[in-house]
């Protein structure tokens, strides 16, 4: 019985988290997880960019006004502004000091708003990677980062340029001598037409391209695919009507699988030891697909909680795992 079985001693602890969506506190917790969880490898699985912008608009008396949650607050001092920016950053929001005239211009020009947010997302990611470099120095822990379907493509280069992290997209990357991570941040088409939403056929070909030349005798294979496999329990989301309202039955949201068939087929074809996923925040789960342990730790970033998965690996494969909320 698995519950009572004693395992071999693990030789690598991996911390996986995903979908932090711009949350400063979640990223800091993730980096601090190296020490707290004694993890040697940290993998951030995508959707690092935030979704919202809270402009700090200068008002007539020279103060700033910002909206956080449901409250619009007047900020008089530098300290108040700093506290506002910290609270917004922890919740995954970007702040942007501006005038009401500029904000009007941005509001009426979606492309301009998108470019402002993309710029802020890049700046925050740079800050994160600098922080990671400082905090992980001397710990021996290695950081691997990928983007997800919500992330603008410009963030790829930010990670590529960082000395603190290894960018994972579309390649097989060694995390130690014998273990390799193959990553894909793209997802199957969502109703929101996100930057990296692609048809299933393209996902399949991107997956195959990533693994071209891979052979099992190279070592242990780990997948890091932002989108979870279809119908795996890792991909259960609320079903939506065409107007993006939630389908309900008896007052309860009706849930169904929304993952990728291409990702599932890739897992079945390449049979990795471990497959790490995110994308569907509410579908925290772990399951087996053939010999593969597939995990989606989910995301609770708006509450400032880092959901993660700690996976202990030994030479034969998965030693143990636990899903965390830190």
């Amino acid at each position: 019985m698995a519950l009572f079985k004693q395992k071999n001693k693990p030789d690598l602890r991996l911390l996986f988290a995903t979908d932090v969506h711009g949350s400063d506190v979640c990223f800091r917790k993730f980096i601090n997880g190296a020490k707290a969880y004694e993890a040697q490898v940290l993998i951030l699985g995508g959707d690092v960019a935030g979704k919202r912008l809270s402009p700090l608009v200068r008002n007539g008396n020279g103060h700033f006004e910002g909206t956080l949650g449901h409250n619009t607050i007047e900020l008089e001092t530098d300290r108040e502004i700093s506290e506002f920016e910290t609270a917004a950053g922890d919740a995954g929001l970007y702040t942007y000091k501006t005038s009401s005239e500029e904000m009007q211009a941005i509001s009426s020009n979606p492309e301009l708003l998108e470019s402002v947010m993309e710029k802020l997302a890049g700046e925050r990611l740079v800050q994160w990677l600098e922080l990671a470099e400082q905090r992980l120095a001397g710990t021996g822990a290695r950081l691997f980062v990928n983007c997800g379907n919500d992330d603008p493509f410009s963030l790829d280069q930010v990670i590529e340029d960082s000395a603190a992290a290894t960018f994972l997209e579309g390649r097989v990357v060694p995390i130690d001598d014998t273990r390799f991570v193959a990553s894909l941040g793209f997802a199957n088409q969502t109703p929101w037409d996100c930057p990296r939403d692609v048809p299933e056929s393209e996902l399949a070909s991107r997956m195959d391209a990533t693994l071209q030349g891979w052979s099992d005798d190279q070592g242990m294979l780990i997948f890091n695919c932002h989108c979870p496999p279809y119908d795996s329990g890792l991909d259960t989301a609320q079903q939506l009507n065409t107007d993006l309202s939630i389908v309900t039955e008896g007052g309860q949201p009706v849930a169904g699988p929304v993952g990728s068939t291409a990702v599932r087929e890739a897992i079945e074809k390449y049979r990795p030891t471990l497959s790490l996923h995110g994308h569907i925040h509410e579908s925290k789960a772990a399951t087996r697909i053939g010999p593969t342990l597939a995990i989606n730790p989910g995301s609770e970033y708006p509450e400032g909680l880092l959901r993660g998965a700690i996976i202990d690996l030994d030479r034969s494969g998965i030693n143990s795992y636990v899903l965390t909320t830190g």
């Binding site: 019985m1 400032g304 965390t324 909320t325």
Partner: protein, 534 residues
């Protein structure tokens, strides 16, 4: 669906936030949908039983006032769950609240206790389908038509073996329904909608008929005054007043079990959008609807039936002088007092449908708790596996069903029936712990509390802590009433052992599993380790 590249957020209450194109931005559930999801929690079948027990168990109690006062603990405890639910909308209820505020072992033990008592209750409800619902229907039709086949059927269907058989079938049907969540929710919605419609019509009818008409109709099937006289002869002492303070307060404990469970909404909501609106609507909306219906039942019982008559039927229940073929529940007495077979069908079928809806909702909520334990690796991984065909957590459903069947067996066949039927006191201890968690949460988990979108204070003290303390006092008072009154059957050594046993088993289980998992290299302590943000 094509959207603009970026847009002003649709939520009109936050016009100064801008949202870029990203997944997951769905429209919130309507208030009606959120309310529909939780209104099924209101347990009117319990009301049909406990309301009628009230004047007998506490002679002199004002039925209306006891019911009205019973809403206060529900409002206070509901407030605790509203604030916790807004703070941690995706967490899945008090298992997580208590674990985060106090300790994961406490979170598990409290939730384990809650699940154990709910499963026992699901068994009780399974037996009520025959002993309260079907038996009430057959007995009223038999009495109203004078057809003995119906009255014999009413007696036979209440027999232990039959009640167990029907309860088993009902629980198994619920289990099968739950293997397809959408189907289960559809059945629940239909059962609840029809059930509440029938019951509402019936209560309205009972309210509209005069006391004289009620007495006249009862006199067609028995003797209104004869029942009261027989009860007095058998030892029932009529109180000098039906508005006495002490029994009214004591009675609050008995009837509060109908409305305390509005917090179930936090177990089942999933990723609810705009929690500041949807969670209060779910909890307080269902409490308002349930409270009004329950109050109207109490008014009908007092003005049409009369508390003395209600108490007398309970005093005679189980004796040779009891003139009816089924338990003297609200549905039976209201049916007989209506003088109408059609009405009897309405009210009894209505209550049966409400029992079915409530069984589905309760089992679904408990399955989610059991599922969550497995996700945290506290139970074997199999428990959280979902069927590849139906996507249902079949193991969790199976465990829940076996637990309910055990509850059904214990209630039907053992001498625990009075204890289990008269009290669901065991639930209260989980509420007490949740109250404690609310008191300490803003101080022990400052970083999480600081991120709550709602942090009201009362004289500088977090409202969450205030409501937590108040709920501990009120729930503590209810528990005290149970422990100091033999009517409930809760103040015996055996009862204490069961109350304590559920907690001890929960704690021991958690400790043993943690040890075993550690040997396997799985440190359960890591699952809830708070990571330093700085």
């Amino acid at each position: 669906m094509e959207q603009s590249v970026a847009s002003v957020e649709q939520d009109s209450t936050t016009p100064r936030l801008y949202t870029r194109k990203s997944s997951g931005l769905v429209r919130e559930m309507s208030a009606t949908a959120a309310l529909m999801g939780s209104v099924c929690i209101i347990n009117l079948p319990i009301a049909a039983v406990t309301l009628m027990l009230l004047p007998f168990a506490f002679p002199g109690a004002s039925m209306i006032l006891s019911v009205a006062l019973s809403l206060i603990p529900a409002v206070v405890l509901g407030g605790v769950y509203v604030l916790f639910g807004i703070m941690m909308p995706r967490s899945g209820g008090d298992y997580v609240f208590n674990g985060r505020a106090l300790h994961p072992a406490v979170g598990f033990a409290a939730n384990f206790n809650f699940v154990v008592w709910n499963l026992l209750f699901a068994g009780i409800e399974g037996s009520w389908i025959s002993t309260v619902g079907l038996s009430g229907l057959f007995a009223s039709v038999g009495s109203l038509t004078g057809n003995h086949w119906w009255t014999t059927a009413a007696t036979n269907i209440s027999k232990h073996g039959v009640a167990f058989g029907i309860g088993t079938v009902a629980l198994l049907i619920v289990a099968v329904l739950l293997t397809n969540t959408a189907r289960a929710l559809k059945v629940m919605k239909i059962a609840f909608s029809i059930g509440i419609f029938f019951v509402a019509i019936s209560i309205a009818w009972t309210l509209l008929i005069s006391h004289a008409t009620f007495v006249n109709n009862i006199n067609h099937v028995a003797s209104y005054n004869g029942i009261i006289a027989s009860a007095k002869k058998s030892g029932f002492v009529e109180p000098t007043s039906w508005h006495a303070f002490s029994p009214t307060i004591s009675g609050v404990a008995l009837v509060s079990l109908v409305t305390l469970f509005v917090m179930f909404a936090t177990y089942t909501g999933g990723e609810v959008k705009n929690v500041r609106r949807s969670i209060p609507i779910s909890i307080y909306g269902s409490l308002a609807i349930g409270g009004v219906v329950f109050l109207l039942m109490a008014v009908a019982a007092v003005h049409s039936m009369g508390p003395e008559f209600v108490a007398s039927t309970q005093a005679l229940n189980g004796t040779a002088a009891f003139p009816f073929a089924s338990e003297p529940t609200f549905n039976l007495i209201a049916s007989l007092g209506s003088g109408s077979v059609v009405f009897a069908f309405f009210i009894n079928i209505g209550f049966i449908l409400l029992m079915i809806a409530n069984m589905i909702f309760t089992q679904m909520a408990m399955n989610r708790c059991i599922f969550a334990w497995s996700m945290d690796r506290v139970t074997p991984d199999k428990v959280s596996q979902v069927s590849a065909r139906t996507h249902a957590p079949n193991w969790a459903i199976g465990i829940g069903t076996v637990g309910a069947l055990i509850g059904l067996y214990v209630f039907v066949f053992t001498s625990f029936s009075k204890f289990l039927g008269g009290t669901t006191l065991g639930f209260l201890f989980t509420f007490l712990v949740t109250g404690l968690a609310a008191v300490v949460f803003p101080y022990r988990r400052k970083e999480l509390y600081a991120k709550s979108p709602v942090k009201p204070t009362v004289f500088g003290i977090p409202l969450l802590s205030v409501l937590g303390a108040l709920s501990m006092i009120l729930i503590g008072a209810i528990a005290y009433a149970y422990f100091t009154n033999s009517t409930y059957g809760s103040n015996s050594t055996r009862a204490y052992s069961v109350f304590l046993g559920a907690w001890v088993v929960g704690f021991i289980y958690y400790g043993v599993v943690r040890m075993i998992r550690k040997r396997q290299g799985v440190d359960l302590g890591l699952a809830a380790t708070t990571l330093p943000p700085d």
